[in-house]
Amino acid sequence: MRGIADKTGRRRAAGWLAATVALLAVPGLSQERFRRVPPVPDPRQELRLPAIETATLTNGLTVAAATRPGSRLVTVQLVILAGESHSPERTPGVAALTARMIGRGTKLLSAEEVESMIESLGAEFWVSVEMDYTVLSVEVLEENLDRALLALRFMVLDPQFVDKEVNTVKRVLSYELRDREKDPSFIGRRQLLRTLFKGHPYQVSGYGWDVLKNVTSRDIANFYGRFYRPNNAAFVITGGLDLAGAVRKANQYFGAWVRQPVDRPIPPPPKPNDRERVCFVNMPTLQEAFVFVGNLAMPMTSPDYFPFLVLNQVLGGTMGSRLFMNLRESKQYAYDASSEAQFFHTSGVFWARAVVLPERIYPAVQEIVREMRILAAEKAVTSEIEQAKSFLVGGFPRKFESPEDFALILSQVVALGLGDQHWNRAPESLMLVNTEKVLETAQRYFPAPPVVIVVGNGAWGVEVLKDFNLVEIYDINGNLTMTVRKGVER
């Protein structure tokens, strides 16, 4: 039986009932006044992240430390200043394969022994390969830090790239990529990067599982030999250690790492997209179309960066944003509509995204482009800008909550040379953005002809694309299979 009350409970409930009845008897007092409206917030507390302190060892290894007092876990990251964009054009994916081979055996230890060593310390090792840099991370209990550093030293300084392990890693990476290729959002984003960065070093990041088979252990060894050098790396540590302690540890375990000249080309800024392009990627299982409308953006070091974050927020960052209100609430074209951006060393990319029924593809694209052009033509109202800033500033500290997120942002700041403006002063930088700056930024980035990617089901037929002037049709691996002009196959 629901809500069985014992005698004490009944008496207590009866007392409350009497009090409530008495309250209700007085007009206008059915509830306390303070319940009627949201409360006024307390004064805002400032974000005070630990300072990032840096030093350089004699072998060129940069050491960076940001102390997190009281943390029982230490995160150590070796940041290699070479990422996916540094993979040679003929072997895309080699940066990822090289990073994944770290830990797959050393001159003295097998892959199994390395894994056992790491796990016995209660540690976790993982790698993250970005466009411009690679992060090798170990998270470990504070008391086991030295042994974890010793393991990391073996893994990074004495790796072996034997064919058996290379093939295992290639197989695992292929499975992972095939799994990701089931996600239309991944496919759409990859096609967008391939299209926007065609002929540019950033294009190689759009590789598929099929190209991994071409990479050999020699390619991996070459990539390692070229980029995995102390003068092309940073030792980044977060936990209880200060800079002096970090330098001591770095010297002890990585001081013998031999310096060598490193030729690391910095990708030039890509050429702007000069014509509207529409690409359809065929994913036969889809019931709805995933539409992406995107273009190039700026690197994080640009003065446009913070205004662009606010602009992106206004366009599609929250459920009050223009895309959502237009495509879902007003036109009912999409269940979901949003916009995102990603930033690299010398460039960036943004895209608006909506999930729509096949017959809504064209009108949805038109509305997205229209919203962008409006933002480039007219000032947004102040309340809209302030709301976007409130969201961004209020949510900023959450990025630093977990040790791994904290460490990854720290690595990014170090790898891209971002400085305090992207650390402690980011909220301040966001608060300084105003309507004028947002308009200027929109005028710089939104009027350019966009790239439109539609991930959809080829079985829908070319009818759904008839309103577009020219559509390039691709298979899931990015191979152009045909073009369609005004709904007619060519």
């Binding site: 509830q31 805002r44 609430e329 969201f391 909550e401 977990s402």
Partner: protein, 446 residues
């Protein structure tokens, strides 16, 4: 850097000054971190406060003893529907505004329902603690719904669940295995099964459920973050103290099992891409210290590349294509659950034998010291990791408060886990890994 924000529902208007308001006097600098404080309001609400000034954030958790175990026969899906309707409006917060208020200040939120609890939580800038308490107290005090909202939400959940069933071919098997592993209706029925059960629920069912279980005397409120305890106590009292208690909530019935031998079932489903199986042991009855031993057993078997099942099934024998598992606890009865898919039926059979063989090995041979230490160290790291964010810490404290465990044990809580001996593991496996505690659900044509 990727900036990703997902938008789901429409936005209602709200003044944007919530974040930047500077009207109140500046508070004193909060202490860096302190032990949690547990107290109870007059209406029975248990409150846990924990200060941590490492970031200017605050997490608020409100947990109700209102999980599926409170559903009666014919009410399946009620706890889940209730959780979702808690975002659809209360006396002073119109439908969906709850989410809008939190997102506008840069906050994040979520909710979930388990067999025993419905848990609601949010993380916001620390100066917005009052906002979180205002929102949570309003929906505790005065959930409002109407036939339209009720019917729409019910329909949405049904459609969403059907989509999941269509895209996650193994989903239904997990619900079936719940029943098999916990053959007690109250503890074994899932959050949602086929989804159709939602359509028989009425608004009256919902209101009665809220009145009975979404009451302060059946709830725990946890606040963790950069707060001043005195200010937090004041705000908690302001928003929650005058909410009337509900009727006394009966304690959960103890789980009852009437299984004599191994429970084995086969599910044949044409849409399953691979054969596989669910395999589990219920650990019942427990003795003092068993829960610590079981946790270490979980790490020996399942956590890390060097864990026994990972090594045997995925690497050595290569009979498994996919492996996952965990230890869960329902009503004080823990259970080890393992889910495996295999390339074909022959592999599935071999794999199941190998799994049973690994359990037998634990019966016969002591786990070597080095392996035991590996398991303990991984557990220790996870222990700290699961308390590394404000919301994770708040959720952990809510669990402790519900279980009547100390909320301020600190690292001493780790000690009994670190003292588990290899002989305890062997004894436990011999005592409890018996056919009458075992359940197997075979998947696909075997």
């Amino acid at each position: 850097m990727t900036i990703k924000t997902r938008i789901l529902i429409p936005l209602a208007s709200l003044a944007v000054s919530l974040y930047v308001a500077m009207a109140a006097p500046l508070p004193q600098a909060p202490v860096k971190a302190g032990p949690p404080e547990l107290y109870r309001l007059r209406n029975g609400l248990r409150v846990v406060l924990a200060e941590d000034a490492s970031l200017p954030l605050v997490s608020v958790v409100v947990a109700y003893g209102a999980g599926t175990v409170r559903e009666r026969s014919g009410e399946e899906g009620l706890a889940y529907l209730m959780e979702n309707l808690m975002f659809q409006g209360s006396e002073n917060v119109s439908p969906l505004q709850h989410i809008n208020f939190i997102q506008k200040v840069g906050g994040a939120f979520n909710a979930n329902t388990t067999f025993d609890k419905a848990v609601f939580y949010e993380t916001l800038p620390s100066n917005q603690l009052a906002l979180a308490l205002w929102l949570e107290s309003d929906r505790m005090k005065s959930l409002t719904t109407n036939p339209f909202i009720f019917a729409r939400k019910r329909e949405e959940l049904l459609m969403e669940h059907r989509r999941r069933l269509a895209t996650e071919p193994y989903l239904e098997s997990f619900a079936i295995f719940d029943n098999l592993l916990y053959p007690d209706y109250a503890y074994g029925h899932p959050l949602i099964e086929r989804g159709d059960e939602l359509m028989t629920l009425t608004e009256e069912d919902l209101t009665a459920f809220h009145d009975a279980y979404y009451v302060p005397n059946n709830a725990v409120l946890v606040v963790v973050g950069s707060i001043q305890a005195a200010r937090a106590r004041e705000l908690v009292a302001r928003y929650f103290e005058t909410i009337p208690p509900g009727p006394a909530v009966p304690p959960l019935p103890p789980p009852r099992f009437s299984q004599d031998g191994e429970a084995v079932m086969t599910m044949r489903e044409a849409l399953l891409p691979y054969p596989g199986f669910h395999f589990g042991y219920r650990f019942y009855p427990l003795q003092t210290g068993d829960k610590y031993t079981l946790k270490i057993l979980e790490y020996v078997l399942l956590h890390g590349g060097q864990s026994r099942l990972n090594q045997r099934l995925l690497r050595k024998d290569r009979t498994a294509y996919y492996l996952s598992g965990m230890m869960e606890d329902r009503g004080g009865v823990p259970a080890l659950r393992v889910f495996v898919t295999n390339n074909n039926a022959v592999m599935a059979e071999r794999c199941q034998k190998a799994l049973a063989d690994e359990i037998d090995r634990l019966r016969r041979d002591l786990v070597p010291e080095q392996e035991l230490n590996r398991a303990k160290n991984l557990f220790k790291r996870d222990y700290y990791k699961t308390r590394s964010t404000f919301v994770d810490r708040a959720l952990t404290l809510a669990d402790a408060a519900f279980a009547g465990a100390p909320v301020d044990a600190g690292d001493a809580e780790l000690d009994p886990y670190m003292k588990v001996a290899a002989s305890s593991l062997m004894t436990l496996v011999n005592r409890l890994c018996s056919p009458r505690n075992r359940a197997v659900l075979n998947l696909g044509a075997r």
